[in-house]
C-alpha cells in the first residue's frame, strides 16, 4: 500500500484527536454558555470527518448519498415535530 493513499486517513485521525483535545480542554474553561456550543460544534465536525473520509460518503453511489441525507432529514423531522410539543407543556 502506497504512503500517499494512507496519508488522508492518518491526517484525519490526527485532526480527530486534536478535536478531542479541544472539546475536552475547552470544557474546563468557563465560556459563559458557549461550552455547549463548542462541544456540539466539535462533535459535528468529528462526525463529518468520519462520515466523509473514513466512510467515504461522497465517493459512494448517488443512492447512498440520498439514503444518508434522508437519515439526517428524518432525524430533523423527529426533533422538529416533537420539540414544540414538549416546549408547549411549559416546563
Amino acid at each position: 500500500m502506497k504512503a500517499a493513499s494512507v496519508r488522508p486517513y492518518v491526517v484525519t485521525w490526527i485532526a480527530l484527536i486534536v478535536l478531542l483535545a479541544i472539546t475536552c480542554g475547552s470544557s474546563f474553561i468557563p465560556l459563559h454558555g458557549f461550552n455547549l456550543a463548542v462541544n456540539l460544534a466539535v462533535a459535528v465536525a468529528k462526525a463529518l470527518l468520519v462520515v466523509v473520509v473514513f466512510m467515504r460518503l461522497f465517493r459512494s453511489a448517488g443512492m447512498v448519498i440520498v439514503v444518508a441525507l434522508i437519515a439526517a432529514l428524518d432525524l430533523a423531522i423527529l426533533v422538529c415535530l416533537t420539540l414544540p410539543d414538549f416546549l408547549a407543556r411549559g416546563f
Binding site: M1, W13, L20, T23, F28, V50, F54, A71, F86
Partner: protein, 224 residues
C-alpha cells in the same frame, strides 16, 4: 452449506469471487451490500436519535442536576476511551483500503488491531461501570445522590447506562463481525461478501460516531 451458499454460482470475474444469482455481476452485488448497510445505518440514526432527543429534553428539564451528575462521570476513562475508539476507526479504514488492494495479510492484521482496540474500549467501559457501582451511581441498584439533584441525576444516570449500554452492545456486534471477516479473509473463503470488509467498516465507523456524540453529552456537561 446453507441454502443461501448453495445457490451461489461462480462469476466470470475470477475463481475467488462468487455472486448470488439475483445479481448480474460482483460489482452489482457489492453496490447492493453497501447500500443495504447504509439503509440499516439510517434506521440506527433513528434509534439513537430518539435517545439523544430524550436526553436533550431531560437536560432542558434538569439543567443543574445534569451538570452535577455529569461531574460524577470519570472524564479520564471517558476521554481515553474516545481516543481508543477514534484510533480503532483509523485502523478499520486502513483495513478496508488493504482489503480493496487485496493485501490479505495486512487486512487481517489491521482488522485484528481494530478488534483489539474495540475490546480495550469494552474493558475500560466495564471498569468505569465498576467505579460507578462503587460510587453508588447505578439507578435501581444502589443509587444515592445529593438530595437537591437526586431526581434529575437519576434521569441522567438512567440515560447514561441506557445509551452507553446500547453502544456497548453495538460495539460487541462490531467486534464479532471484525473477527468473522478477519477469519474469512485469512481463510480465503470463496465468497464475495467475505472480501467486502468495507460494509463492516461502515458499521464500525457508525458506532464510533454514536460515541462521538455520547462523549460530550455524558462527560462534558459542566466541568468548570
Amino acid at each position: 452449506m446453507t441454502p443461501a451458499c448453495a445457490s451461489l454460482r461462480a462469476a466470470d470475474h475470477g475463481p475467488a469471487l462468487r455472486v448470488a444469482e439475483q445479481f448480474e455481476e460482483a460489482s452489482q452485488q457489492r453496490a447492493a451490500a453497501t447500500l443495504g448497510m447504509w439503509i440499516f445505518l439510517a434506521t440506527e440514526v433513528m434509534f439513537f436519535g430518539a435517545l439523544f432527543f430524550a436526553y436533550s429534553i431531560a437536560r432542558y428539564q434538569f439543567p443543574a442536576a445534569f451538570a452535577a451528575a455529569s461531574r460524577h462521570t470519570n472524564i479520564v476513562l471517558g476521554t481515553t476511551n474516545t481516543a481508543v475508539l477514534l484510533t480503532s476507526s483509523l485502523f478499520m479504514a486502513l483495513a478496508v483500503k488493504c482489503a480493496e488492494e487485496d493485501l490479505r495479510r495486512a487486512t487481517v492484521t489491521l482488522l485484528a488491531i481494530t478488534g483489539l482496540l474495540g475490546l480495550a474500549f469494552m474493558g475500560i467501559k466495564l471498569t468505569e461501570y465498576a467505579l460507578d457501582y462503587r460510587d453508588h451511581l447505578v439507578p435501581a441498584v444502589n443509587f444515592a445522590f445529593d438530595p437537591a439533584y437526586a431526581r434529575g441525576a437519576l434521569v441522567f444516570f438512567g440515560l447514561y447506562f441506557l445509551t452507553t449500554g446500547l453502544h456497548l452492545v453495538h460495539l460487541s456486534v462490531g467486534i464479532a463481525l471484525v473477527a468473522l471477516f478477519a477469519w474469512r479473509v485469512a481463510r480465503r473463503r470463496p465468497n464475495a461478501l467475505a472480501d467486502q470488509v468495507d460494509i463492516v467498516g461502515l458499521y464500525w465507523h457508525f458506532v464510533d460516531i454514536v460515541w462521538i456524540f455520547l462523549y460530550p453529552c455524558l462527560y462534558l456537561v459542566s466541568r468548570t
